[in-house]
Every structure is written in structure tokens, then in C-alpha cells.
Symmetry: C2
């Protein structure tokens, strides 16, 4: 007996898989109130998480998508809170506009400073990003403390992000940090609740860079 009769053929190409997935998502998602370009982000987040509840929890500042596209097309950097976000983001589309993805959390000076001040590396990394990455898109998928610190720096006029993607996951401070973000009048993309994570941050950036490319 040939056991391979159990198997569906696995010759489908990544591009076909993605197209088929997006059709399934749109069919199951049904009617919604997202603007067309916002929905491109929602769809890609659902694609990355297989979680419709998470997709429906996304909230967009009215200027968010356009601000994100503009930042990418101007070659502004993407600041990732952790390496998982950095490696997941698709680079070629960013590089076409002169952009890159930075992550500061494992920089030796950040680690030393966090130790010295007895605080989290995420907080110190956010301060460094604010100094070095004006107009950046912040993609925060993990550390609520990074998002809270960024909000504080924005209020103090010490950080000028082009867009804040604030989707940390977790049980302590994640949902609360997003509630603080919702009060800011700067372009943001976030979600309500505890869910989120690196793949959500990655999917959001990748959706925006695809939109940036198509607007060319």
C-alpha cells in the first residue's frame, strides 16, 4: 500500500496559497466598516493569525494607513521592539524606498543602561529609537513597556513617530497600554484587548509596504 494516497499534493506555490487564503478570509469575514486600505491590513493580520476575533479587534486612527504609506515611501525606518518582528518584516519593498528595519533592544549600550537604571531593556531601547529614528514607524508586538514609554515620549515631545503600530500581547499591561494609545492624536494602529504579538506587527507592516508599492 502506498501511504502517499493519504496526501494532498503539496506542490501549491506560496503565492497561490496566499491568494486562496485571502479569498477564504474575505468570505468568512463578511460585511465590515473598515475602509478599503484598512481592510488590507485586517486581512493580512487574520492571514497571519487565523484569528477573526483578533482581526475584528483592530482599531485605526483615521490618518494611520496613509501615514504609514507615506513613511515607507519616504524611506523612514521601521523600529521593531524585538528581533522576531525585525526578521519577519519583508525587506525588499522597504529597501526600494530606502527604508530599513531597526531593533535596539539587544544593543550593548541599551543593555548596560537598563541594568544601571534597573528598568526594562524595552524602555531604554524606545528612548534610543526616539533619539535616532525621527518619523519612524514603530512596530511593537511584544513589550507593553515599550509602548507605554513611547506614548510618554510623544506626550513630552521627545518622540515624533510617523506611525505607531501598538499590538503587544499579554496579560500584564498589554491591553492597558493600548487603551493609552487610543487616547493619543497621532497616527496609530492598535487592537482592543490582550491579543497581539510579533506576527500581528509584522503583518501590519507588510500590508502597509504592499500598499506603498501599489501607490507608486
Amino acid at each position: 500500500m502506498d501511504f502517499r494516497t493519504d496526501f494532498k499534493p503539496v506542490t501549491v506555490q506560496p503565492q497561490e496559497i496566499e491568494e486562496k487564503s485571502f479569498e477564504m478570509i474575505t468570505e468568512e469575514f463578511g460585511p465590515h466598516d473598515y475602509a478599503e486600505e484598512q481592510y488590507k491590513v485586517v486581512q493580512r493580520v487574520i492571514h497571519a493569525s487565523a484569528d477573526f476575533e483578533l482581526g475584528r479587534s483592530l482599531v485605526f486612527h483615521p490618518d494611520a494607513v496613509q501615514a504609514g504609506i507615506q513613511a515607507i515611501r519616504s524611506g523612514k525606518p521601521i523600529v521593531a521592539d524585538v528581533q522576531m518582528v525585525q526578521v519577519g518584516i519583508s525587506k525588499p519593498r522597504l529597501e526600494k524606498f530606502g527604508g530599513e528595519v531597526r531593533v535596539y533592544i539587544s544593543d550593548p549600550d541599551v543593555m548596560q543602561e537598563a541594568k544601571r537604571l534597573n528598568t526594562t531593556r524595552a524602555i531604554i531601547a524606545t528612548r534610543k529609537a526616539a533619539r535616532e529614528a525621527d518619523g519612524a514607524i514603530y512596530a511593537i508586538g511584544n513589550a507593553p513597556t515599550a509602548l507605554l514609554e513611547l506614548i510618554r515620549l510623544v506626550k513630552e515631545g521627545e518622540a515624533r513617530p510617523g506611525l505607531i503600530i501598538g499590538v503587544p500581547v499579554g496579560f500584564v499591561s498589554a491591553a492597558e497600554s493600548k487603551e493609552e494609545l487610543l487616547k493619543l492624536d497621532v497616527p496609530f494602529i492598535t487592537n482592543i484587548g490582550r491579543k497581539g504579538g510579533s506576527p500581528v506587527a509584522v503583518a501590519t507592516v507588510n500590508a502597509l509596504s504592499l500598499l506603498a508599492e501599489r501607490q507608486g
Copy 2:
């Protein structure tokens, strides 16, 4: 007015946040049928996803946890399907036993071979892992084709994994690949349905390496 009155203090340390999170998870999770060490994995997956439904969907082969601990303590490699999984896994505990995390999907020879055979890089990377990483723990968070190919290689006697962590996410083939894995009599950890992803694979490996360390 000092806007910072809005803020809860963000001086909590990562270790405290984790402990508090784990208490919250156990309280909300309630009674369950997982063995004690299996629950350590479930708990860490929920911690990484804030998704109880996902946590409850985890399924363990009866030998899975012990096989994973044994592989780690023997210094067997972890094979990650994508770089996001590789960078997320905590390295120091693995290195203590001589282990490391490998990812083959961006190797030049894998990319060339996939192009030549008109198939996915994930499939060719899995074949390379089977040749080079005997007894490894496979941590598959993304590519259903990697999991399907690994299952095929196991059935053909061409791959001898120590443990298969098969938690690809997605709409096409992800759930189906896990159903195939459930039929194998090799140590596996998987979940029912479309959900999964890099953070689930990472959390599973990290939970196992913590258990391996404690068994020392």
C-alpha cells in the same frame, strides 16, 4: 497638569510580569486534563498568544514532553522552519546542553534546489534537515508544506525526529497537516485547527528547555 498621572508605573521587571501572567492564566484556565508537564507548555503558549482557545487546542503524543526534554538534554539541535522561530527561542538553556537552533530555509543551496524543482523552500529545507539533524526537535510554526514533507520523510524512514512540534498557522493546509501529524506514532505536540504560528512554536520549545533545566 502632569499627564503622567494617567500612567501606571512601568517599573515592573520582566520576571515579575511573567509570574503574574502565569497566575492569571492558571486562574482563568480552570480545571483541565493535561499532565503537569504538558500544562507547563500549554501555559506558556497561552502566555505568548493571550488565547485560551489556542491553548486548549493543544494535543500531546503521550511521549512528547519527555522526548523533548531528552532531546534537549542530549544536545540535539532544534530545527526551526523560519527565522522568526529561530530568533524567538531562548538559546542559553539549549547551549548549556550543547544544543543550538538551526534554520535551513534561506540557505543558498535550499533556495537553488527549490527553484530547480519548482517547489517550496520549506520542503527542500525539511529534506536538508532530515539529512543533517538526526534526532532533532522540529519546531514548525508557519509552513504546512514543511510539516507535510516531514511526515512523509518519517513514513519513508528518511527522517528520525526526536520530537515534532507541528503548529503551522493558516487557511490552506495548516489544519490538514496537523491531522496527518496526529496519525503518526512519533512524539509530537500539535494543535487542532488553523491557529498556531511562530510564537506558539517558540513558547513550546522554551517551555521544554525550562523543564529540561529543572530536571538537571
